[in-house]
Symmetry: none
Subunit: 225 residues, 2 copies
DNA sequence: TTCATATTTCGATCATACGTGAAATATCTG
DNA sequence: CAGATATTTCACGTATGATCGAAATATGAA
């Protein structure tokens, strides 16, 4: 029965904590260098290199050489979908320790995911939009409602989108949030309005004092940090 | 970074050829005994038992004890979805022999899945039922329509079912078909009417000449084999 | 009860593979 | 060119885990 040999080998490839961390770090589609991934996974550069080679050989990653740097990225979104499918049945994320690094906290607080808002803020924002009736949550997607369409125009996002909106799962929060082009437009508009801005830490987002008050005033989202 | 520990451990659980074969064998929702799975995977009963224990502990399988037999089955369809997601990027494996190919073909044609009709016939039949307006396909389920309810009664299936009907995915067809109790009832009725019958090969279904003409006449389903 | 079947537990073997130090290769900088 | 940085390759210790023989447990049959 070597019928499922390929499936098993791919699963085995994912089934290592260091490699899972690598894949998860690349899940937003960004490319990272071998050194960065070595630091993220907290293993030696040799070990990271070994894992990266295996992931490339296994077809999960592609590599792009730029000078002495090697940029690794997911070879396709299907890879991210596998991890997401596993995350669905994975036991809930461990309880956060009280003493966790400020950086981890901030990253979890607000993150960009394929250029749209994710993390706690993304989840809270999506929840608020659904509660206001702007979006309707379905089994696998969100749908923009007429009132939502109107709100989007008033908010400054032009769209005549009527297709289902991808529903993403936040890996740390295990909750849903909107994805796709609309989410990107909304995030861009939020940046324009200076409610949010890119933080110093890679992929992190900071909320301005204006944003803080606006999120609370308009969407009843209280930010505590 | 034990954030992705759970994901990695589940992937590692799938990442063994014997265990993948077990999971794939149970993918249609059927329950098999430890002995059957030992024979399918071609490992000793001890080895199979060890793997099964791990899969149950990992939450991928559930076990039901009946006398001296232990029936194992997938704990949820999410497990099947993981395998399917991996299969998407796994290179297809070559067919071993012509004989196996013939058997695979027949199995692909019509298969029972949770005692309901699957395979090509199941998919075609479901498509026809949706097209006739008897069922409405949603994101993750089907809904019985009033006209569908009426048709069911005329067809000889008594039901006052209004809950969503599970939507199953056929692995070989990659298309959807109805599942759940209603599908079982319909399949039973099809057997009663002698449109279909159990084939010689395990889990296979043969269509009678009556069934062949009826499927074509009533549902515009042409069977070529 | 006695025997057969189904399944698990224990113990031992063996292969795989993760991780790292050391060293090699390649690129950038001054 | 020399030195620093990025990354890989090699060699090796170690650990995990897949497999199976032997034995134990539980159920069904005679």
């Amino acid at each position: 029965m070597n019928m499922y040999k390929n499936i098993a080998s791919i699963a085995a490839l994912i089934g290592d904590q260091t490699r899972t961390t690598i894949l998860a770090s690349l899940a937003d589609g960004k490319a990272l260098t071998a050194g960065e991934l070595s630091r993220i996974t907290k293993v030696s550069p040799q070990t990271a290199s070994s894992h990266l080679t295996k992931l490339v050989d296994g077809g999960l990653l592609t590599v792009q050489i730029q000078g002495r740097h090697r940029y690794y990225r997911l070879s396709s979104s299907s890879v991210a979908e596998i991890i997401e499918a596993i995350a669905k049945i994975a036991p809930p994320s461990p309880i956060r320790s009280l003493r966790e690094s400020e950086q981890a906290k901030r990253l979890r607080f607000a993150r960009t995911c394929y250029k749209h808002l994710a993390g706690e803020l993304g989840v809270a924002f999506t929840t608020a939009l659904v509660q206001k009736g702007y979006f309707q949550e379905g089994e696998e997607s969100y749908q923009l409602t007429p009132s939502g369409s109107q709100w989007l125009n008033e908010f400054g996002v032009k769209t005549n989108h009527t297709e289902p909106i991808p529903r993403h799962i936040d890996w740390t929060e295990r909750r849903h949030h909107i994805g796709g082009p609309i989410a990107v437009c909304i995030t861009r508009r939020l940046t324009e309005l200076e409610w949010i801005a890119e933080g110093e830490i890679r992929r992190s987002i900071v909320v301005s004092s204006l944003g803080r008050s606006m999120f609370e005033q308009e969407f009843q989202i209280k930010l505590w940090s």
